[in-house]
């Protein structure tokens, strides 16, 4: 029943993507040059900077060791936020999904908190934890927790009841049902949520840095902004983009390794 559709050529797709990116950067750069020749036309670098300037800014940061330091600081906050938020989210979901009582009582609270715009809580965390690693981590945690919680909770609730009935007859205790059926089944959901959770963790960390920090990519962007340095702002954004892409690549790789039993992951 598999349809025989000719797959798109990967190399053509890659070439098109590269070409488009190059054209975009070139147009940007040329727009700025044009503005330099005629101030009423083109792109004003005061507001938009220009690719060559952005590259130069990043290179300058690199020489000072800022890039590595900022990325490490932001990564530390993000990863800590992911680990703490993810763990709390998964444990909470397993607990609330395994008891109808607990679920009925507590899930509405989580829905309530989830509807809160948590970015607005960040100043509060800074007040509580100061300009430390913890104010950033907690900011990431409150964003990650809910994404992972709801994905895991739905994943566990979504399990085919036949699978549970079967392992129960085969001799499974409640814990064994959890371990052999519910958690593996939720894993697919946890993984897809983890991809967006990474984004959220990074948002939490970076925005918290915005509010006050001594280092980190968010701090670098905020600092550049205060200096009216648009190249710095774009440079920071570029670093963030690369960072998220790398993390996503890693997660995809991990997902393929852990979900070999899924048809679409077959080689």
């Amino acid at each position: 029943m598999r349809e025989r559709v000719k797959p798109v050529n990967r190399w053509i797709v890659r070439a098109a993507q590269l070409g488009l990116s190059a054209a975009f950067v070139a147009a940007w750069e040329l727009g700025v040059r044009w503005h330099a020749a005629d101030a009423t036309k083109g792109i004003d670098p005061f507001f938009f900077s220009e690719p060559s300037q952005i590259a130069a800014t990043i290179a300058g940061w690199w020489e000072h060791g800022y890039v590595v330091r900022d990325v490490l600081v932001t990564m530390e906050e993000t990863v800590l936020g992911l680990i703490v938020g993810g763990t709390i989210g998964i444990v909470l979901a397993v607990l609330l999904a395994s008891s109808r009582w607990l679920g009925a009582i507590f899930v509405p609270f989580l829905v309530l908190f989830n509807s809160l715009p948590r970015v607005t809580l960040i100043p509060l965390f800074i007040l509580w934890f100061g300009f430390t690693l913890w104010s950033k981590t907690v900011s990431a945690v409150v964003l990650v927790l809910f994404v992972v919680f709801f994905a895991t909770y739905d994943g566990i609730k979504d399990v085919d009841p036949t699978l549970i009935a079967n392992v129960r007859v085969l001799g499974a205790s409640r814990w064994a049902v959890m371990r052999h059926v519910l958690i593996p089944s939720a894993l697919t959901w946890i993984f897809s949520s983890l991809r967006s959770a990474v984004g959220f963790a990074l948002i939490g960390a970076v925005v918290a840095e915005y509010f006050g920090a001594q280092a980190g990519v968010g701090y670098r962007i905020q600092y550049s902004e205060s200096q009216l340095n648009t190249s710095g702002v774009f440079g920071g954004l570029f670093i963030l983009m690369v960072l998220v892409s790398l993390i996503n690549l890693f997660l995809e790789w991990l997902q393929r390794r852990l979900l070999v039993w899924k048809p679409q992951n077959a080689s």
């Binding site: 036949t162 392992v167 129960r168 007859v169 205790s173 052999h180 039993w261």
Partner: protein, 253 residues
């Protein structure tokens, strides 16, 4: 016993049924007659709303000891390989190490799946998945086998093969089997006794002994004149129930 669900649907009303040990008993009836519910009650997966269910003289309370259950739907864990699926009940029952590995390998071999130990369920055909499920159920040697239309989703040829396989494995094993099906032919070909149930709420309408000799050839047995005779008698019983179940479904739809 009686079973009414939370939705208010009564699947079974006043069912009186006793199964002698070591017999192969088939339960037939139109869809919605509570055949599957009966099995779930015997397995302890569900509790009756009224009356009692006893296995080996003991009332069922929680999952019944030493039962195996073959489901109509796929019940293998998709994230475990054939080997891990078959070994799971042993692991859950505290059998470990070399003994568990040996019994697992033996049963994979007996259902004809040697060489597929490392495969995941999605890589197997429907018939092969049923074989894995059979091995998973028999590996811990349950005294009672409950089968809920286990082969209804398979094509006719595969189904006949699986029926023959089940008979071969059951023959002389001393296990008691309750086999639910809506297919009279399958019921007669396999069972020592066929229980016909009424359209829901299910009751026992009639019971038939199947005096066909064993071991049986699943293909040949259908040409036995006694087979045809039984089939006709049962079909007379079933027809009214099927018509009623059909009429009700039409009304509801």
């Amino acid at each position: 016993m009686t079973k009414t669900f939370e939705t208010g649907y009564t699947a079974l009303r006043g069912v009186q049924l006793e199964i002698a040990p070591q017999r192969f008993v088939a339960l037939v009836g139109p869809s919605g007659c509570g055949k599957s519910t009966t099995l779930a009650l015997v397995a302890g997966l569900d509790a009756p709303s009224g009356g009692t269910v006893s296995v080996r003289g003991k009332p069922v309370d929680g999952i019944t000891d030493s039962v195996g259950f073959l489901f109509q739907r796929d019940a293998l864990l998709p994230w475990k390989t054939v080997r891990d699926n078959v070994m799971l009940p042993l692991q859950l029952r505290g059998v470990a190490g070399a003994q568990a590995r040996e019994r697992t390998a033996d049963w994979i071999d007996r259902v004809g799946l040697r060489g597929f130990e490392g495969a995941y369920p999605y890589q197997l055909s429907g018939g092969m998945r049923k074989r894995v499920a059979l091995a998973q159920t028999l590996v811990y040697d349950p005294e009672i086998l409950l089968m809920d239309e286990p082969f209804s989703a398979l094509d006719v040829q595969t189904r006949n093969l699986m029926e023959a396989e089940v008979l071969g494995l059951w023959q002389g094993s001393g296990k008691t089997v309750m086999f639910v099906t809506h297919d009279l032919e399958e019921a007669i070909a396999l069972a020592d006794e066929v229980v016909v149930m009424t359209a829901g709420p299910g009751r026992v309408k009639a019971r038939y002994d199947v005096p066909l000799p064993r071991p049986r050839d699943i293909e040949q047995v259908r040409f036995d004149p006694r087979f045809t005779e039984l089939y006709r008698a049962m079909w007379d019983d079933m027809r009214d129930e099927v018509l009623e179940s059909y009429a009700r479904a039409r009304q509801a739809g």
